[in-house]
Amino acid sequence: MIPELGHFALILALLVAIVQSTLPLAGAALGAPRLMALARPAARAQFFLVVVAFACLAIAFASNDFSVQNVAANSNSQLPLHYRIAATWGSHEGSLLLWTLMLAGWTCAVTLFSRHLPPAFLARVISVMGLVSVGFLLFLLFTSDPFDRLVPPAPEGRDLNPLLQDPGMVIHPPMLYMGYVGFSVAFAFAIAALLGGRLDATWARWSRPWTTVAWSFLTIGIALGSGWAYYTLGWGGWWFWDPVENASFMPWLTGTALIHSLAVTEKRGAFKSWTVLLAIVAFSLSLLGTFLVRSGVLTSVHAFATDPARGVFILTFLALVVGGSLALFAYRASKVGLGGVFGVVSRESALLANNILLIVAMASVLLGTLYPLFLDALNLGKISVGPPYFDAVFYPLLAPAVFLMGIGPMARWSHASLPSLWTRLRWAFAVAVVAALVLPFTLGHWSPLIAAGLFLALWIATSSIVNLRDRLANSHRTGPLDKLAANSPSYYGMLLAHLGVAVFIVGVTLVKGYEIEQDVVLETGQNVTVGGYEFRFLGVRPGPGPNYRAVTGTVEVRRDGRLLETLHPEKRIFNASGQAMTIAAIDVGVLGDRYVSLGEPLVNDDLNGAWAVRVYLKPFIDWIWGGAFLMALGGLVAVSDRRYRLAVRRKAAPMLAASGAAASAD
């Protein structure tokens, strides 16, 4: 009964979404306020219905209803409750339902925080988001119904993919989708602006907080996925340039470009059509990512169940949404004009260069991801593109973009002078260069790549300090706290996010430069010394888990004879599927991790004999995720800026009457 209720709610949601995507749009075109006023209630009703559908699916999972195919295929009665609930979005159908839920949620959020938007603009935004929602609901109902019944019911479920039975995996998809789908808001704002023919600074100011929040979520989502890969895949890697990772990374790069380009459009009125294009591209890449992951056109370690019929549907949808938007862009953007003029040396130029580098980097990732598919489609053979390509192309493109991060925030808008920039930044530059040249000697061996990486990180840090110092020195306020408070949260958010990049680069550089990886075979009681740490293997013992059998090893970590930590790496064999999973044991430290994971016993099934053990030292690896979280935090701090809310308050008075009317219409 409950699954049918969920299914019914989805059908209703589709009908409401159709209303939401057509009538307000028509109202905006015809200037009919009553049609436009439908936007808010329709969006909220759709959100409610999708929540009901999602709750029904979650209940089906929680109550082990194996008469639902999706539950039977992705859950198991032995699975602990929190993973049964997480299994709701563990399957293809469930994750699409999550996508739809997020989209409806973002739309609903737009209806809540949009008092200041002109009604016609809001109607268009909500209609555009409704159109996207219609596509996803159709996709759910026609090709991927999460509520399909299984006749006769299965006595037991097949279990959730063991790799997904992990706390990181429980929150990684929702975070990632919050980001992916969040770009739909910027997209809808851009389309609405193109439709209305009004592309100005206010449009950019409205889009900025939405874009930044979505970007922050995406950053956290990607970081969580990377962290998960680090501790569960058992080989200590944190990024593999896998097509599915790239699918999330491309919208991130574009989103980063979009955030910066929106700043220019808001502050200076420049880059208008470019910003609109970026907003369209960021969301298009989110859709493309969904297509790549769900259609099976590329091979990936994320082997999700794939189905060509679904691929055809998503591709058609992608073609309509993106093709339509780009056609609209081609038709309208020429009339928008380019906006303000600026000098060759100016903050605009720095941001433009940063944008171009980010987009070229994104295009190179896109090319690398799709290259195997291009060759195959042209009958030129089967190849796979791996880390060597991405490493060779990506770092040289991003290094200048990172270098510009030191200059851009210091440069004046419109016209800056190189000599004055040099005067202000020379000490920051000198300190960064000297420290980058010397530091590698103290850390171990010196190599040009390590020095270059450290230079970029230090350069961001030192130039940020100079930037803050100049700001405080030029402030008219007295007292250090007053001076600090005089700057806007968006300024501090920017500094924080940039420092996040520096922290991230330190992590990447040092882990690539100094990591030590050893695969050894250890008998019980044997030692291995890696990088000054002594690892003593004390054997394994079997033990039961809730839905798996585990083999847990014990490894003592010593330095200079002193016991630092006892680690327990695990291997789990899941009862339902028989699949094995490795849980690495990590002694986490700010200066580096000691990472131990169990391989296989040397002789099959002889648990008490020798084991293959991987012992890794990963210096500064946690800085990678720490940096990512700082970036996301910076984004959230920036959004708290009063400027975005001031715009609300200023317009609030005349709008109150209108919103009161809308509220009573709810």
């Binding site: 298009s284 993106v322 093709g323 953007a333």
Partner: protein, 176 residues
């Protein structure tokens, strides 16, 4: 020309969609084998269940047969094994097994435990025949025609779909 500039993103996207469209009809996991259409590499190996006797592709000339590469240590082989057992019961086509890089004792124990669908299995202890056949990973299945020519190769476990849609129709056609 100035207006044309704005249609560039659209143009790029159209090309991209065209490629994605073609990509949909391809299977990225399907690796073409250069051996298809070539005579099956020859060998003479002893049989697993009767170590005194040997088998060579030459002995099987005149009949259509399947060569299934398996091993007791191979986990995915357990996935496809029920299909092979079922196929053997239907008696449509003889299936010969190539026990790849395996100890004969382990292989025999494995067949005793999971059932033996093979007309005969031969032992490729050091995997040399596997190299001749371009074995990527176990399991793999070859369809070999009456003339001893390889006509099809399945990489990875057999699926019901592959069997019904590709292998069995091909076998029937070749048997005529």
């Amino acid at each position: 020309m100035r207006v044309l500039r704005w249609t560039i993103p659209f143009g790029i996207f159209v090309v991209l969609v065209a490629f994605l469209w073609v990509g949909l009809s391809r299977d990225p996991r399907e690796v073409p084998s250069p051996l298809i259409g070539k005579p099956a590499p020859t060998f003479r190996l002893s049989k697993l269940q009767a170590p005194g006797e040997t088998l060579s592709p030459a002995d099987l000339k005149g009949s259509v047969w399947l060569l299934n590469v398996w091993a007791s240590w191979c986990v995915s082989c357990r996935v496809e094994h029920p299909l092979l057992v079922q196929l053997a019961q239907e008696n449509v086509v003889p299936v010969y097994g190539l026990d790849y890089k395996d100890k004969p004792d382990d292989g025999r124990a494995w067949l005793a435990q999971h059932g033996n669908p093979y007309t005969a299995s031969i032992v490729d202890r050091d995997g040399r025949v596997g190299i001749d056949y371009g074995v990527y990973g176990v399991p793999e299945t070859f369809v070999i025609d009456k003339m001893g020519v390889i006509r099809y190769k399945q990489i990875g476990p057999l699926t019901d779909e592959a069997l019904q849609d590709k292998i069995l129709p091909l076998v029937r056609q070749l048997q005529q």
